[in-house]
């Protein structure tokens, strides 16, 4: 049987969700790195894999699929032995998870991804920062975080919907929130610290999915360290691996 191929960039939130899911469930796969900062998603070869030219995408035998939630659902149903908590067979419980997955796109995803892109990441892709767009995005993010707490993490809920084990919705949403690690510490704290339930939930998901969670997020942490120890790297130089460098103020 041909191995599952997973096309990802670990800087991409939904890519991380797929990789963590596969590792958690011992799904054998080959990780094919598509470096977004080098615009590898625009290559003609990758367009054959995913005509939307986005990550993540998978190829399973001859079957090609994109959109991380569609991929997660497919993996749960196709690979044997995936525990029911990830995507319950019960129609009502499954539907409640679907609602979260669908809500995500226009809410948490939209707010969080746009905030990080417009306040930090844009120059990495040759685009200018857009602080006005970032401000709008932060409103959407803040509203989304409040809704998650108020609707899906009631009481002492360990995971979304009060579930005792994580679902693909927990994985997807927490990988998205992790992107906020790229913000300035003070901004991140301003946004997240009022939301103790969210912080606890993130920890719960980490505990449930470690060591894979930390391993898959290592790239993100590395980029965070470079961004915030070397402010000039925000302006568009490609981020190279190496020791932290303190900038001379005259630069």
């Amino acid at each position: 049987m041909m191995k599952l191929k997973v096309y990802t960039d670990r800087m991409s939130q939904p890519s991380r969700a797929i990789i963590i899911f596969c590792k958690m469930n011992r799904i054998d796969f080959e990780e094919v790195r598509i470096d977004l900062a080098k615009a590898q998603q625009r290559s003609p070869e990758f367009q054959e894999i995913n005509p939307m030219r986005q990550v993540p995408a998978i190829v399973d035998g001859r079957f090609k699929l994109f959109e991380s939630h569609a991929i997660l659902r497919y993996l749960v149903c196709t690979f044997p032995g995936v525990p029911d908590n990830w995507y319950p067979a019960d129609v009502s419980n499954r539907a409640r998870i679907e609602a979260i997955l669908d809500w995500h796109h226009s809410n948490l995803r939209r707010g969080s991804a746009s905030l990080v892109f417009n306040s930090v990441l844009a120059p990495k892709f040759g685009l200018p920062l857009n602080l006005e767009a970032a401000k709008e995005a932060e409103k959407i993010l803040d509203s989304s975080i409040s809704k998650i707490e108020g609707i899906w993490l009631k009481g002492n809920s360990k995971f979304l919907l009060g579930n005792f084990q994580p679902s693909i919705a927990d994985l997807s949403l927490v990988c998205e929130i992790m992107q906020l690690e790229l913000l300035d510490k003070k901004d991140r704290e301003r946004i997240l610290n009022p939301h103790k339930k969210i912080l606890q939930w993130i920890e719960n998901v980490k505990v449930a999915t470690n060591p894979h969670f930390e391993e898959v997020h290592a790239v993100l942490y590395k980029v965070r360290a470079k961004l915030h120890s070397n402010p000039s790297s925000i302006s568009g130089e490609s981020i190279k691996s190496g020791p932290k460098v303190k900038l001379s103020p005259k630069l």
């Binding site: 959109e67 939630h69 196709t78 009502s92 609602a99 669908d102």
Partner: protein, 240 residues
């Protein structure tokens, strides 16, 4: 089986998709109108039904559910006798439809809904028109229509993915695109001009779902007449 209540406003694109799906599949339901223009979705009673305070939402026994795609998937699986083409049991075919449903939110939905809101509907909800936002939205819409045509309506495809029968993705998308009926004719011609396949596909979905399609869209057509002051019966019946 428990009673199904569908909370909807027929001016809402995803509400129409749910109502049509139920009627097509002879699913017994009570339609509870939630009138967006008078802010009924903000009532405390409605918040008990859907804490997101949006339509559509359903209540089925002890299940309260929002998000139209989650609702469509649930209805396809929970009710007996729904033909397989709406949401196939084959995992790969189902996954391809899931991908389309997921893609919709940030693409077709985002473009089409924002364009209509910022060009026409905003004042009904006490907000100003926003031509700049409308311009941005039209770019997203145009790009989305192009992608639908090139990726999911290959050759002489009758429905998305070249399927011979419509799926919940066809229903969701076409109900979204129908909102553009509210735009002036000249805008609609500009938007659809480059997209003949889209127009053809809309007709296919109508043919497959009439008379329910026209009945469920009657309110949209009436609103269009009021907005544009036209009083032509023909304009109401003939579609885009």
């Amino acid at each position: 089986m428990a009673e199904l209540k569908v909370y909807a406003d027929r001016m809402s694109q995803p509400s129409r998709a749910i109502i049509m799906f139920c009627k097509m599949n002879k699913i017994d339901f009570e339609e509870v109108k939630v009138h967006l223009a008078t802010g009924q979705h903000r009532n405390p009673e409605y918040r008990e039904i859907n804490p997101m305070q949006q339509v559509p939402a359903i209540v089925h026994g002890s299940l309260k559910l929002f998000e139209s795609h989650a609702i469509l998937r649930y209805l396809a699986c929970a009710f007996q006798g729904v033909p397989d083409h709406w949401y196939p049991s084959d995992l790969s075919n189902r996954a391809l439809i899931d991908a389309i449903l997921d893609w919709h939110h940030s693409n077709l939905r985002r473009g089409a809904a924002a364009l209509v809101f910022d060009t026409i509907l905003a004042p009904i909800f006490g907000r100003p028109l926003n031509p700049q936002a409308a311009e941005e939205a039209e770019k997203i819409l145009d790009s989305s229509l192009s992608k639908i045509e090139s990726l999911w309506l290959p050759g002489n495809a009758k429905f998305l993915l070249g399927n011979a029968q419509p799926s919940i993705a066809d229903l969701s998308f076409v109900c979204e695109i129908m909102q553009l009926e509210l735009l002036e004719e000249k805008h609609r011609e500009r938007i659809f001009g480059p997209h003949k396949k889209i127009l053809h596909w809309i007709e296919n979905v109508k043919a497959a779902t009439n008379p329910n399609f026209e009945e469920v869209h009657a309110m949209l057509y009436k609103t269009k007449e009021k907005i544009h002051g036209k009083m032509s019966d023909d304009a109401m019946k003939s579609g885009p």
